[in-house]
Amino acid sequence: MVYPLHTSYLISHISYLFHMKTIADLKVGERGIIVNFTDEEFSLKLLEMGCLPGTQVTMTHIAPFGDPIAVKVSGYVLSMRKEEAATIVIA
C-alpha cells in the first residue's frame, strides 16, 4: 500500500485532468450514477462496499471544512474523504 506521494496525487486528480464529473463534485441532495473508478486500490474497497458501476449515489452530507463527505448508496450511508470521492466517476 505504499505509494510515492506524487503518484497518489496524480491518481486522485486524473478525473479532474480529464474533466470527468466525480462524486466529489456533487452538492448536497444531488445524484449521479457511478460509471467507473480511476484508482484501482480504492476501487476494490468501494466495490465491496456496494459502489458498483450503474448504481445511483446521492450526496447527503458534507462535514465541517468540506471533507469528508457522506453519500447514500445501495440503501445506506457511506462516508469517504473527498480524495476518495474524486476517484469515482459519475454521469
Binding site: S43, L47, M49, S74, G75, S79
Partner: protein, 706 residues
C-alpha cells in the same frame, strides 16, 4: 455429526454478530453501534438440541475475505486455513437485512470456501422501518441455504436458528457449485500440488493473500510470488472482477426476494436522516459535540457528589469504628489507614466512573460515535491521525488498554501507530480520582463560572481537553518524524441510529465499574501492604533513633504535638522515606517533597495507587485525629515546613495535576503497546516521551505559578 461442533459468527461490521453471540451464549461480549467494535475472537458455548454444546466463535466484522486492516486479518487467518484450530465446522453468516446485497457478498464468499453455512437475517426491524420487506423463504430457495430470521439484540428467533444449524450440520450441506468468475485451472492445480489438496477457492485465496497469512513461511511466500508471475496474476484486478461477478449474480436474487415499499425515487425521511441533519451540521456539528462533552463533565462533578459524600462518610465511620474497637496495634493501623483508606480512595469514585462509562456507552450504542468520527476526520488528519482514531481516543477516557486494542480497525499502519502512541495521553478513569482530589484542594468548592457552571467541573473538563490537545500535539510531532508515505483512507459506513437498551447499558456500566474497582483494588491492596511495611520499618535502628532524636531536640514539647513530630520523623527514616529522600532533589524543581516522591514511586506501575499512598503516608507521618479523617482533609492540613503556608497551594496542585495528566504510569498500557506493535521500541519511546513531557510541563507550571 461431530461432537461439539465449532460454529463461527461471520458478517459485516456492525451486522450484530456480538449481539447474537451474547443472545446465544449468555455472555456479555461488548457491542456497539459502529463498525469495528469486536477486535479479537472470543469463544462461548451454545446448547444445540441434545448432545454436546456447540462452540460459538465471535469474530471481528469483515466486508469480504480480502482484509484491509488488522482486525479483519484475524478472521481471514482462520478461514484461509482448514488446519487452524478455530476453523469452523459451520459458519453462521449474520446479515444486516437493511443492507442485504452488500451483506450477501460476504455470504457468497464464505459459502464458496466450502464451509457449511447458515444465513441469519438480522436487523429486520431496521429494514422494515426503511420500508424494506424480505421474503426469506424465497431467499433460502434461491441461495440454496438455510435462512433464519433473528433479532440479535432482543434474542428473538433463536430456536429457528438452532433448527437451521442442526439441519445443516446433519447434512453437512454447502452448495459450492462453481465459482462465479473465470480463473486459470492449471495455475490452481499447481498451487494444490505445492501446498496440499484443497478446493479451488482456497487455492486462489492463498495466492492473493499469501503475504498476510500466518500459515505460510517466507519460502512459501516467495513460491507464491513466482506462481503469480508465471501466470500473470494481478491480485487487485482479480478481486475486483470477482466482486463484480458476485454482485451481478446477487442482483438478480435480491431483486426477486426484496420488496421496497416506496419506490426509490421518493426518499423516506427516516429518524436517522433527521438526526444527521443536526449532528452532522456543517457549522453546529462541532458545537453540539463540545456541548455534550461539557455537560457530561459538569454532571460528573456536580451530580456525582451526592453519592460520593455518602460513600466517603461511610468509610470514615467504618475507620473510626475499627480504630476505637480494635487494639491499637500496628496491624490495626495497616487495616484502617492502609487498606481501608486505600480501597476507600477507589470506592468513593465509583459514582464518577459510572457516569463516565454511562456517557461512553451511550456514545457507542446510539451510533453517535461514527458521526464523531465523520466530523473529526479532517481535523485528525492534520495531526497525522484518522477519523477512526476517535474511537481509541474516546475510549481512552475509560482505559487505554482496550482503547489501544481498538486501533486495529485503522487500516493504515502509520495512522494506527501514531494513535497507539498518543492514546495514553487521554485522561483515563484511573486519573479521575487524582484529578478530583487535587482539584478539590486548589479550586474552592462553591465557586462558579458565570454563576451557573461549577468551577471544579470546568477545571475537570479542562484537564480532559488538555490531555486531548496534548495527544493531538504529540501526534503532530510524530507525523513530522515518521517518514512513511502511506495512503490512508476513510471509507466507512454510517450506521442508522439505534436506541440503546436500558438493561444493556446498565449491565455494561455495572461490569466496567466492577472491573475497574477490582482491578484497581487488587493493585492498591498489594501496594498498600508493601508501602505500609516500607514506611513502618527502616534500616537498622533508624526508627528508634528517630524517636530519641525528636525528644532530645524538642525537650519542651509534649502530647499530640510531640507524637506528630515523632511519627513524621519516623516516616522520614523508614525505607519508604529514604526512597523519597533519594529522589527529592530530582522532583524539588516541580515543587514536590519526599512524601510526594513516595507517591510518585508507587504510582510508577499504576497511577491509581496515588490516593491510597497519600492516605497511608499522611496517616503514618502526620496528625491523626478526628478532624483529619480523609485524605483530602489531611492533605489540606499539610504545612510546607519551609514557608509555613499550606503545602498544597495553587502551584503545587497544578504542577501535580499536569504531571499525572501526562506521565506514563501504567504497566498494562506499555504491555499492550508492546503486543500491538510487536516491538519494544514503541513502548520505550512512549514511556520516555510521556515522562519527559510530564516533567517539563510540571516544572514550567510550578515555576510560573510559584
Amino acid at each position: 455429526m461431530k461432537k461439539s461442533p465449532k460454529i463461527a459468527l461471520i458478517g459485516n461490521p456492525n451486522a450484530g454478530k456480538s449481539s447474537l453471540f451474547n443472545s446465544l451464549t449468555g455472555l456479555r461480549q461488548k457491542t456497539g453501534n459502529f463498525p469495528g467494535v469486536t477486535m479479537d475472537k472470543l469463544i462461548g458455548k451454545w446448547k444445540l438440541e441434545k448432545g454436546d454444546d456447540a462452540e460459538i466463535l465471535d469474530l471481528p466484522g469483515i466486508y469480504s475475505i480480502y482484509p484491509k486492516s488488522v482486525d479483519e486479518q484475524v478472521v481471514i487467518n482462520i478461514l484461509a486455513n482448514p488446519q487452524h484450530p478455530d476453523y469452523p465446522d459451520l459458519a453462521i453468516v449474520v446479515a444486516d437485512a437493511s443492507n442485504l446485497k452488500r451483506n450477501l457478498l460476504l455470504f457468497s464468499q464464505v459459502r464458496d470456501l466450502g464451509i457449511p453455512t447458515v444465513l441469519a437475517l438480522n436487523m429486520i426491524d431496521v429494514a422494515e422501518s426503511q420500508g424494506i420487506v424480505i421474503n426469506s423463504v424465497k431467499l433460502a430457495r434461491e441461495l440454496n441455504v438455510e435462512v433464519a430470521e433473528v433479532n440479535a439484540k432482543k434474542g428473538i428467533g433463536l430456536n429457528g436458528l438452532r433448527l437451521s444449524v442442526n439441519k445443516t450440520l446433519e447434512t453437512n450441506y454447502n452448495s459450492n457449485d462453481s465459482l462465479p468468475m473465470d480463473y486459470d485451472r492449471e495455475m490452481v492445480e499447481e498451487i494444490k500440488e505445492k501446498y496440499g489438496d484443497t478446493d479451488d477457492y482456497h487455492a486462489l485465496l492463498w495466492l492473493s493473500e499469501h503475504d498476510n497469512l500466518i500459515q505460510f513461511d517466507e519460502k512459501q511466500r516467495i513460491e507464491f510470488d513466482n506462481i503469480q508471475e508465471k501466470y500473470g496474476w494481478k491480485t487487485q484486478n482479480a478481486q475486483s472482477k470477482e466482486t463484480m461477478a458476485r454482485y451481478s449474480q446477487l442482483n438478480e436474487i435480491v431483486d426477486n426476494c426484496l420488496h421496497e415499499v416506496p419506490a426509490e425515487e421518493e426518499e423516506i425521511n427516516t429518524w436517522t436522516d433527521r438526526l444527521d441533519k443536526i449532528f452532522l451540521h456543517r457549522f453546529w456539528g462541532y458545537f453540539i459535540f463540545l456541548g455534550i462533552l461539557f455537560i457530561v463533565f459538569q454532571a460528573i462533578f456536580t451530580w456525582a457528589t451526592y453519592p460520593m459524600d455518602l460513600i466517603d462518610g461511610g468509610i470514615a465511620n467504618l475507620n473510626d469504628f475499627l480504630k476505637t474497637n480494635l487494639p491499637p496495634t500496628k496491624l490495626t493501623d495497616l487495616l484502617t489507614d492502609g487498606l481501608i483508606a486505600g480501597i476507600g480512595g477507589v470506592l468513593i469514585f465509583i459514582p464518577q466512573i459510572a457516569f463516565l462509562f454511562l456517557f461512553i456507552s451511550m456514545l457507542e450504542e446510539t451510533g453517535y460515535m461514527s458521526r464523531v468520527m465523520f466530523i473529526m476526520d479532517k481535523l485528525m488528519r492534520r495531526f497525522g491521525l484518522n477519523g477512526k482514531s476517535v474511537v481509541p481516543l474516546i475510549s481512552g477516557v475509560a482505559c487505554a488498554v482496550p482503547a489501544i486494542m481498538s486501533t486495529r480497525s485503522i487500516g493504515s499502519w502509520k495512522d494506527r501507530l501514531i494513535t497507539i502512541m498518543v492514546t495514553p495521553l487521554m485522561s483515563c478513569s484511573a486519573r479521575l480520582p487524582i484529578y478530583t482530589v487535587l482539584i478539590a484542594l486548589v479550586v474552592p468548592e462553591k465557586s462558579t463560572l458565570f454563576g451557573i457552571f461549577n468551577l471544579q467541573g470546568v477545571v475537570l473538563f479542562a484537564m480532559y481537553l488538555l490531555g486531548f490537545f496534548m495527544a493531538l500535539f504529540s501526534a503532530y510531532v510524530m507525523k513530522l518524524l515518521l517518514k512513511v508515505k502511506e495512503r490512508s483512507y476513510f471509507i466507512m459506513e454510517l450506521p442508522s441510529y439505534k436506541s440503546p437498551r436500558f438493561s444493556h447499558v446498565m449491565i455494561t456500566i455495572l461490569n466496567s465499574t466492577k472491573a475497574f474497582v477490582f482491578e484497581a483494588g487488587k493493585v492498591i491492596v498489594a501496594i498498600s501492604i508493601v508501602l505500609w511495611v516500607l514506611a513502618s520499618y527502616g534500616p537498622g535502628d533508624a526508627i528508634e533513633q528517630a524517636e530519641i532524636y525528636v525528644k532530645t531536640q524538642n525537650p519542651t514539647l509534649s502530647g499530640t504535638e510531640l507524637q506528630n513530630k515523632i511519627s513524621s520523623q519516623k516516616l522520614e527514616n523508614s525505607y519508604a522515606g529514604r526512597f523519597g529522600k533519594v529522589i527529592e532533589p530530582v522532583i524539588k524543581p516541580l515543587g514536590y517533597d519526599w512524601k510526594i516522591g513516595i507517591a510518585l514511586i508507587t504510582s510508577f506501575a499504576a497511577r491509581e495507587v496515588f490516593v491510597g499512598t497519600m492516605s497511608t503516608i499522611y496517616s503514618l507521618g502526620g496528625e491523626a485525629n478526628e478532624e483529619n479523617s480523609t485524605v483530602m482533609k489531611r492533605m489540606r492540613a499539610e504545612i510546607n515546613p519551609e514557608t509555613g503556608k499550606p503545602m498544597y497551594d495553587m502551584a503545587l496542585g497544578f504542577s501535580l495535576l499536569i504531571f499525572y495528566a501526562f506521565a506514563m504510569q501504567c504497566m498494562s498500557t506499555l504491555a499492550v503497546t508492546y503486543r500491538e506493535t510487536k516491538s519494544w521500541k514503541y513502548p520505550t519511546i512512549q514511556f520516555v516521551y510521556m515522562t519527559a513531557l510530564a516533567y517539563i510541563s510540571a516544572f514550567v507550571v510550578y515555576q510560573v505559578l510559584k
